[in-house]
Amino acid sequence: MSWIASHFNYVVVVILMMAGLFIVFSSGNLIKRMIGLAMFQTSTGLFYITLSKVSGGTAAITLKADSETGRALAAPLDPAYVEQFGVDGVVYSNPLPHVLILTAIVVGVATLAVGLAIAVRIREAYGTVEADEINALSRVTAEQAEPSP
């Protein structure tokens, strides 16, 4: 398989990550920035899951190889392949990244909620969620604090 086919996932995942990162740093709207951050974090999850996929594998919930599903899953695969990479006659995808990304998704939603909560408070305190307007207003506050010499 050519490089682009075997690494297609990584390329796409990187594009998604960078789309998120770009939104975070280019947008002046705080809520849009949070959306970008959510996208950035989610696509990191896709990166891990890409690592965990095993060709011909199935979700890591154990099956009996002689059950109907087990036989159906093993049927299209080369027996030698199953023998080498399978566990008890079934090939599974790697469960560890799944666990990590479950945690990361949770962290993501927690960050999103706290960030948006702060954004809502900013909206109430400043009357806007646009970064440049907030900066302008903050500068006013700072000058009130320190009258120019």
Binding site: T58, A59, T69, A72, L73, E124, A125
Partner: protein, 99 residues
């Protein structure tokens, strides 16, 4: 094979829905597209269960159907509030006193 064709058909339909969600023009079109996309995802996931030989994952399709509904209701509700909301500047000033 027919299942695979069904999956392909769904993917095509989903792509068309994305186009509608992108071009809008009104937000109701977008909500409609998102909702319909959700229903198709439910079907896609159910079908993938059959295609990849693990039909026991229908639970996930079930959850999708449910979440999709709640999201659509939330969006609908969102519009109800917007129609009632008065100019936002006045509201923020009022809230500022409190916090």
């Amino acid at each position: 094979m027919l299942v695979a064709a069904g999956v392909a058909g769904l993917v095509v339909a989903m792509s068309l829905m994305i186009v509608r969600a992108m071009i809008g023009p009104s937000h109701y079109d977008r909500i409609l597209a998102a909702n319909s996309f959700g229903t198709k995802t439910v079907l896609l996931i159910a079908l993938m269960g059959f295609l990849f030989g693990r039909p026991d994952f229908l639970d996930i399709a079930l959850v999708y159907a449910l979440i999709n509904f709640v999201t659509t209701i939330a969006l609908m509700k969102f519009f109800r509030y917007r129609t009632l909301a008065r100019p936002l500047g006045a509201m923020a000033r009022e809230a500022g006193k409190d916090g």
